[in-house]
Symmetry: C2
Subunit: 296 residues, 2 copies
C-alpha cells in the first residue's frame, strides 16, 4: 500500500463540501434567517463528519452526488446542534470556533429558528427532485440521518447530558450518553457514506463498528482536550466540563487511562476496517488517526 | 352525492392517528425527553393537518400506511413549531391548548430538545425500514415535508414574523409571511396526501391550489379569532396580536373585509377541488368548511 496523504485527500473533498454548502445553505431563506444559517455553517469547523461520509462512500464505490449531499446534510445537523447547544438555556456559550455564537450575534429567537431551519434543510438536501440520486437511496439516507439525529441518537444524548449535570455517572452510563450524543452522528456519517453504494451486510456491519469506535474515541479525546488545551487552541471555552461539574472520561478514568482508552478505540476502529474486507480504506484509517491525534 | 358526515369521517381517522402517535412518539427517547415529546404531541389539538393528509390521500386512492405516517409526521412538525414558538425568546406563551406550555413544564432546555427531537422523528416516521411504503414514496414525502418546514416554508415565515413586530406590512407582505408561516405546512399536508398515491400533474396542481387557499384562509380566520374569541375558547391567550403590535389581516383589512376574504378563499378552495376532476373530494370540501367556520 502506498502512503496516503490525508491532507491532500481532505483538501479536495473539503473544497467540494464548502462549495456545496455555500450554494445550498440559507439561499432560499428570508434575509435575516439565511444570514444566521450561513453564519452557523460556513467557514468553520473541521468538517470531520462530511469527511467520514465521503471516505466511507469512496470505500464502497458510492454515488458521488449522493455522498456530497449526505456530507452536507450531516454537517447541517451538527451545526444546528451546536447553535441550540450554545443557547443560554443550554450551555450558555458565547464563543464557538473563535467567533461569537449565533445567539450572541442574531439573538436567541434568531438562533432558535436558524437551528430549526438547518435541521429541515438537511433533509431537503437529501431529497433532490432531480439530481441523479435514486429515490430509494434518498429514503435510506433520510432514515439513517433522522435516527442518528433524533431521540434515540444525538437529541437523546443531549437530554441525558442535561440531566447529568452534578450527577455521578458510572463509566457505562457515561459511555451510553456519549454513544448517543456524539457517537450516533459520527457513526451515522459512516453509515450514510456506506448507503451511497451497494454494500454487503458484513461490510455494512464492519463500517458500523468502525463508526462506533471512532465516535466514542472522539468524545474521549474531547474530554481530554477540555482539561489539557487552552481556549485559543480549542476555539471554544476550555475547562467548561469541570466548571459545570459535568461527568467526563477524565473525571471518571483519570487522564492516563482516558488516553489509553482512546488508543484502544483507535485500534478497534482499524480492526473493524480490516474485518470489512473492503479493498481501500486508507482515508477511513487516516481519519481515525485524525480523531485520536487532534489538538482541537 | 350523498351527504357527508365529517364528524364520523374524522372520528375514525383521528382514532387511527392518535393510536399511531401514541405508539411512535417518545418511546425510544430517554425518559425525561420522551415525556416532554409526548406532552407536546398527545391529547391535544384539532389535528387539522393529519386530517388533510388523510383526506387528500383517500381522494387519490393513496397507500394507507404511508398516509398515516405522513399524517403523524406533519403533526410532529406542527407540534415542534408550537413548542419552540411558545418559548420565552419567541412568543413567551404559558398556555397552549388549555395546558401549561412545554417549557413551563419541562424547562427551556427540555422544550428546546423536545422540539428538536420531534422534528427528527417526523422524518424517521416517513422512512420505515419495513412497513410496505415504497422507498421512492418515502423520499417524495420527506422532500415535501422538509420544504414545507424549512427556511422556504414554516421556519422562513416565522423569521419574517419575528422581524415584523411593530412594523407596518402591506397586505402583500402579510400574505407572503403567512403563506410561509402557516400556509406551507397546510398545503404541504395536502400535497403529502397526494404523494401517497399516483396523481396526474393536473390533479396535483389542483390539490396544491386547494391547499394554498385553505392555508391562507386558516390564518385569516386565526387573526379574526384573536380579536373575537376569548382565551378559554381558544385554549391559548387571546388578543396577543394587538398586544404585541403584530400585523394581522384584521389590523390591515378590518374585521368585515377579513371575513369576506376568508369566504372568498373558501370558494377558491372548492373551485380547485372541482377543477381537480377527482371523483370523491367530500372530505376535503368538508375540511375546508371546518377551517373557515371554526371557533378555535
Amino acid at each position: 500500500m502506498t502512503t496516503f496523504d490525508l491532507r491532500a485527500w481532505s483538501g479536495e473533498r473539503l473544497e467540494r463540501v464548502e462549495r456545496a454548502l455555500e450554494n445550498w445553505v440559507g439561499v432560499e431563506a428570508p434575509a435575516g434567517l439565511g444570514e444566521a444559517m450561513r453564519y452557523a455553517v460556513l467557514d468553520g469547523g473541521k468538517r470531520l463528519r462530511p469527511l467520514l461520509v465521503l471516505a466511507a462512500s469512496e470505500a464502497v464505490g458510492g454515488n458521488g452526488q449522493a455522498a456530497v449531499r449526505a456530507a452536507c446534510a450531516v454537517e447541517l445537523i451538527h451545526a444546528y446542534s451546536l447553535v441550540h447547544d450554545d443557547m443560554p438555556c443550554m450551555d450558555n456559550d458565547v464563543l464557538r470556533r473563535g467567533k461569537p455564537t449565533v445567539h450572541v450575534k442574531y439573538g436567541e429567537a434568531g438562533a432558535l429558528l436558524a437551528g430549526d431551519a438547518l435541521q429541515a434543510l438537511a433533509f431537503e438536501l437529501l431529497t433532490p427532485a432531480d439530481d441523479g440520486v435514486p429515490e430509494a437511496m434518498q429514503a435510506r439516507l433520510c432514515r439513517l440521518l433522522a435516527h442518528a439525529a433524533g431521540s434515540a441518537g444525538m437529541a437523546g444524548g443531549q437530554a441525558i447530558d442535561l440531566a447529568s449535570v452534578g450527577v455521578k455517572l458510572t463509566e457505562d452510563q457515561l459511555r451510553q450518553m456519549h454513544r448517543l450524543k456524539t457517537g450516533a452522528l459520527l457513526q451515522g456519517s459512516v453509515l450514510m457514506g456506506a448507503a451511497c453504494g451497494e454494500v454487503s451486510a458484513a461490510e455494512y456491519a464492519a463500517l458500523g463498528d468502525y463508526g462506533a469506535a471512532i465516535g466514542l474515541a472522539f468524545q474521549v479525546v474531547d474530554d481530554i482536550l477540555d482539561v489539557t488545551a487552552d481556549s485559543a487552541t480549542l476555539g471554544k471555552t476550555a475547562g467548561k466540563d469541570a466548571e459545570q461539574d459535568k461527568p467526563t472520561y477524565v473525571s471518571i478514568l483519570g487522564l492516563e487511562r482516558s488516553r489509553a482508552y482512546a488508543q484502544a478505540l483507535y485500534d478497534q476502529a482499524l480492526a473493524a476496517l480490516d474485518a470489512s474486507g473492503l479493498p481501500d480504506t486508507r482515508a477511513l484509517r487516516a481519519l481515525a488517526g485524525m480523531v485520536v491525534d487532534r489538538v482541537n
